[in-house]
């Protein structure tokens, strides 16, 4: 029997009953559910170990500090990074991208320099760049998306130039599940520019094995809460020499070497980027999540995701009247955007809820891309390790009966 067949038992939320139905949770793209091991780990810290990190010279603080710092090592090996100092903790992907945008623009960019994003980026990978572009007089270009939802890499090549200082691209689309060829993008960026390459791994890292050295990229950002971990914790991975060259964006305690009334010197990476008390309990929770995924094995997680995607393609692509936004490439995430002509996405999701089916409705923070497709809103089904084929079947039958009522 597969490792995944009994997995729901590790997640206490699946004991809940929603409107008289079992919970069919298909909104892991928004946030994942948490296994007992993560919840218990965080509880244990609060109950038995709690003390601020890096500050006390007593047992509790030293234990918590060790646990907290050991999560960097776990993440280092999870991502195959070359050094645990390359792991910077943030609040999540959004904060990570805001930090990178501000730090890079401040240190490495000047008037007229260019940032390249793509048309399918999440707002978290658009707005921070728009904000710094305004402040530092930078230009933003968007790589086109093909009709099959893949990125137009010829368009990327033509937009790269000596002016390009940052390319920041989603690692897995949160609407279509499209997986861009990151290695190919990296090659194009290296051969046509001196730009940095950032990958928004919010959806990618939870689902697929990521080897940052193999990909050759400069920065990877992601959120703990989408990969079984708690909210309030995310990661920037960056090449150490690049991190060394950047300045902090936030100042405060714990990030300094020496402070005078007129100036201060920064602590070495990673601490110079982590001002103030970090969310250390959340970081330790993320460590437990990484352990959980590690025990399953990321190649098994990928295989499970591929199976559900194939099943989803079989079952969801031909529901009468339902339009599907889903990558047409062979390999993609298990994410399906859907809309029905004449039926509002919120109506559909409210009706699905009465079947215990939780999906998201709206523009999923990719409003420009919805606008480009000429649709207001979609519902989105995103599956994760605890989902099975039955969940997809439930989704399908709930869609069919809901659409009937709404027509």
């Amino acid at each position: 029997m597969s490792k995944f067949s009994e997995i729901k038992k590790d997640f206490p939320i699946f004991e809940r009953n929603i409107n008289g139905n079992k919970l069919t949770y298909l909104d892991s793209g928004a946030t994942s559910q948490k296994p007992n091991s993560v919840i218990d780990k965080m509880n244990d810290i609060y109950k038995f170990n709690n003390a601020n990190v890096h500050r006390g010279t007593y047992v509790l603080s030293s234990e918590t500090t060790q646990e907290y710092e050991s999560v960097r090592n776990k993440l280092q090996s999870f991502l195959n990074a070359s050094d645990s100092d390359e792991i910077i903790f943030t609040k999540g992907t959004t904060e990570a991208l805001n930090f990178l945008a501000n730090s890079i623009a401040n240190k490495l960019m000047g008037e007229g320099d260019e940032i390249i994003l793509s048309e399918i980026e999440h707002h978290a990978n658009i707005i921070p760049w728009q904000m710094v572009a305004e402040k530092y007089k930078l230009n933003i270009n968007y790589v086109k998306v093909n009709d099959d939802f893949s990125l137009d890499l010829d368009d990327l090549s033509s937009k790269l130039s000596s002016k390009t200082k940052v390319v920041s691209i989603v690692g897995e689309s949160n609407l279509s599940g499209m997986l861009p060829d990151i290695k190919e993008i990296n090659n194009l960026v290296r051969s046509n520019s001196d730009s940095l390459l950032i990958i928004d791994g919010a959806q990618l890292v939870p689902h697929r094995k990521v080897d940052v050295q193999d990909l050759g990229i400069d920065f990877l950002v992601f959120s703990g809460h989408k990969m079984l971990g708690p909210t309030g914790i995310g990661v920037v991975w960056g090449k150490k020499e690049l991190l060394n060259s950047l300045d902090p964006v936030y100042g405060g305690g714990d990030m300094i070497e020496e402070v005078h009334y007129d100036k201060a010197t920064w602590a070495p990476v990673p601490h110079k980027f982590e001002a103030g008390t970090p969310p250390y309990v959340e970081a330790i929770g993320l460590g437990a999540a990484v352990d959980y995924l590690g025990n399953l094995g990321m190649s098994e997680v990928e295989k499970h995701s591929d199976e559900l995607r194939e099943y989803g393609r079989k079952v969801l692509l031909d529901i009468d009247g339902v339009n599907v936004i889903h990558s047409e490439q062979d390999i993609a995430g298990c994410t399906f955007g859907m809309y029905v002509d004449g039926v509002h996405a919120t109506d559909l999701s409210v009706m699905l809820d009465t079947h215990g089916v939780a999906v998201r409705a709206g523009h999923h923070c990719v409003q420009p891309f919805h606008r480009k497709l000429g649709i207001d809103a979609t519902i989105r089904s995103t599956a994760y390790i605890y989902n099975d084929k039955e969940d997809i079947d439930t989704l399908k039958s709930a869609i069919i009966s809901s659409v009937e009522m709404l027509r």
Binding site: N19, H344, D347, M351, D353, G362, D376, A377
Partner: protein, 137 residues
Amino acid sequence: MSIREKVDEYKKILDIFPNDQEKYQYLIEKAKENNSFPPELRLDNFKVNGCQSQVWLVPEEKNEKLFFNSDSDALISKGLVTLIASIYSDEKAEDIVTSEIDLMEEFELGVILSPARRNGAYSMLKTIKEYAKNLIA
């Protein structure tokens, strides 16, 4: 009918339905029956803040009473705003302002009528009360 009487009437109707699904179905039917909102009034200045669906509300004063006409681009939400508009229509501004009825508490309407700030129905209730308040002031 007073606001209280109308609310009680609707509560009686909604109570007949054993689950959310059938309550929503009732709202969908109410929405389909409501054809009184002229499409050309779907204007930004009549729009009520709401995140998930768009809601429009047009107030009118006639014979010292207030009337509300409303619309939404989503069906369930349209059914709900139609119901709310009929509760507060044909009432004096003072009665609307002094009414202490909390619809969120009175109607058990699951996820669609919740005090979430970005909920269209929530903003609509606030707008109705503010409109009435400004008339008295």
